[in-house]
Symmetry: C2
Subunit: 325 residues, 2 copies
């Protein structure tokens, strides 16, 4: 099979960038992989290891690339794309792997030359490790990858990007940028805020307390160990969509706290039962529910533009993965 | 080797009671295991399977037992011990597996006949499954088990109980009942309250949001699926010790929420870094730190009474376990 892309350019060679390179190479979806990075070391290592075929500056690596994937921190994406801009092929497709999509969808298209299209991606995969040396070809296997087309996105471009991520093993989910930001606020950003707040409060616990910690404590606090610089940026970028879910959590907490303080056992037992039910309703979607929705993307794949894509999903491998920002 | 106990009586044959029976049998620490349970079915099944040797009512099963372990819900423990009271051997040692220790330490000794001693136990092990059929001989392996002697506890009794749990594979930690209740509020009860509150708020999330959930979401919410009846009782029983840690969490949350809302990136980045450090400081205690403390219990073992036991720890198998209430 001929690889789907002639050349992909990866801008930013950290954990995600290096994983995209390794996974794309393994899946044999591209002939040439080029990478630009702030630091020379990781680029040279990746080149020497055959993970990438070309290295260089932003403008240089995007030359001739039909797919450009920005894997830098979200705060510098626009700046890097501006720098790359003169090098773009007129029909290039640009995506990124950032954890917040609304602000990028507002910002990036205006930077790109006429004809160059942007669709956001958010592979919900990661690690506590940072850096290209931790990149893994299997990082995206079974991970949800959210694509965020806008109303003027070409269906054929969306289908092409969806194929790319599926080849890398991801389970593609379609959202508008705004829906994405609300959804990740619920399933990832609020949990992180809460875990960070708990961990911060834990400074006041007696030092001996952690001797009693078991697996429940470790699982609950795991995301509280995430990188503070990266997460501070993510939470700040999504603070608009975060506000509602965070307020809802605060209200639930106040309600449970009041019932506990008052010793209203029936009230808090009912609260706990509702909480459990909410999680049970939210269990991982089945293949069948995804398959029902897949035709919407099939329309896109057949070349129609502006398909109904507000909530669509193409299931791939539903098994669980290391995750998530 | 002669088993350490002649007869243990298990009152309450759910997941924990059945696991104690299976683990004690496997470790060969007792000649005879007797069990009483509210429901006949599990008792008869356990008897038929050879997991226990005798079944009967509370008073009946404690006859001749040198160790009595109450494995019922905490709210009915006092009542069951009252019922058992006429059957006690004058030198019996009584313990329980409840998740809250202060109220039991106040309540139980007064119920027991002269000479019968009570020391609380809290094996931090469990499962989302309930019922004797889910009992496992290896449930306590590597799990912290907190013992809560009081100032008048005989050192020899504490050593005996500590040996018992270590034979079952647990890592014994010594606390006063009050210290225990504060420590579990921090490492288990507040995390449960927070996970329940988050799960409850999650009812307001768009239904599509859970399609984006990854392993971070699952780990963070796992304890929110715990049994509501049992947890409602635990939280209510420990509400006095829970108040402070819960308030500290609320303050941390408000502080982080305000910094996020105001877009004070430096402030929340610093907050996140402190959170991470607090968790890193609390990492699982090493064998060596435990070993330094072991001599305190050695004093107890050699027969001295009222050893300095406020913070002591006897490490066994430090590997992680399914847990925890």
């Amino acid at each position: 099979m001929t690889p789907r892309f002639e050349k992909i350019a990866i801008i930013g060679l950290g954990l995600l960038g290096a994983s995209v390179a390794r996974a794309a190479r393994r899946a044999d979806v591209v002939e040439c992989i080029a990478a630009a990075s702030r630091r020379r070391g990781p680029m040279e290592t990746a080149l020497a290891a055959g993970i990438v075929d070309e290295i260089g500056g932003c403008e240089e690596v995007v030359r001739g690339a039909d797919l450009v994937i920005v894997c830098s921190p979200i705060g510098v994406m626009a700046q890097l794309l501006e720098r790359a801009s003169p090098g773009f092929r007129p029909d290039a497709l640009v995506t990124d792997v950032g954890s917040v999509k609304g602000p990028l969808a507002d910002q990036i298209p205006a930077i790109l030359p006429e004809g160059v299209e942007y669709i956001g991606s958010h592979p919900m995969a990661g690690s506590h490790e940072r850096g290209a040396e931790h990149g893994r070809a299997d990082l995206f296997e079974g991970a949800p990858c959210v694509l965020t087309p806008r109303v003027d996105t070409k269906g054929s471009s969306l289908a092409r990007l969806s194929d790319f991520w599926q080849e890398l093993g991801a389970r593609v989910v379609i959202r508008t940028p705004e829906e994405h930001d609300v959804d990740v606020a619920w399933v990832s950003h609020v949990p992180h805020v809460v875990a960070f707040a708990f961990a911060h409060a834990f400074q006041e616990a007696p030092q001996r307390a952690s001797e009693l910690a078991g697996s429940g404590f470790r699982d609950f606090t795991r995301i509280g160990r995430s990188d503070s610089e990266m997460w501070s940026e993510i939470l700040n970028a999504n603070r608009k969509s975060l506000a509602g879910p965070l307020q809802a959590f605060g209200q639930s907490l106040a309600q449970l706290g009041a019932a506990l303080e008052a010793g209203e056992v029936e009230t808090h037992e009912e609260f706990l039962a509702q909480a459990r039910q909410a999680l049970e309703r939210s269990a991982t979607p089945s293949i069948s529910s995804g398959a029902q929705r897949a035709p919407r993307l099939e329309e896109a794949r057949s070349g129609g533009e502006n398909p109904e894509i507000s909530v669509g999903m193409v299931p791939a491998n539903p098994r669980s993965v290391e995750n998530d920002s």
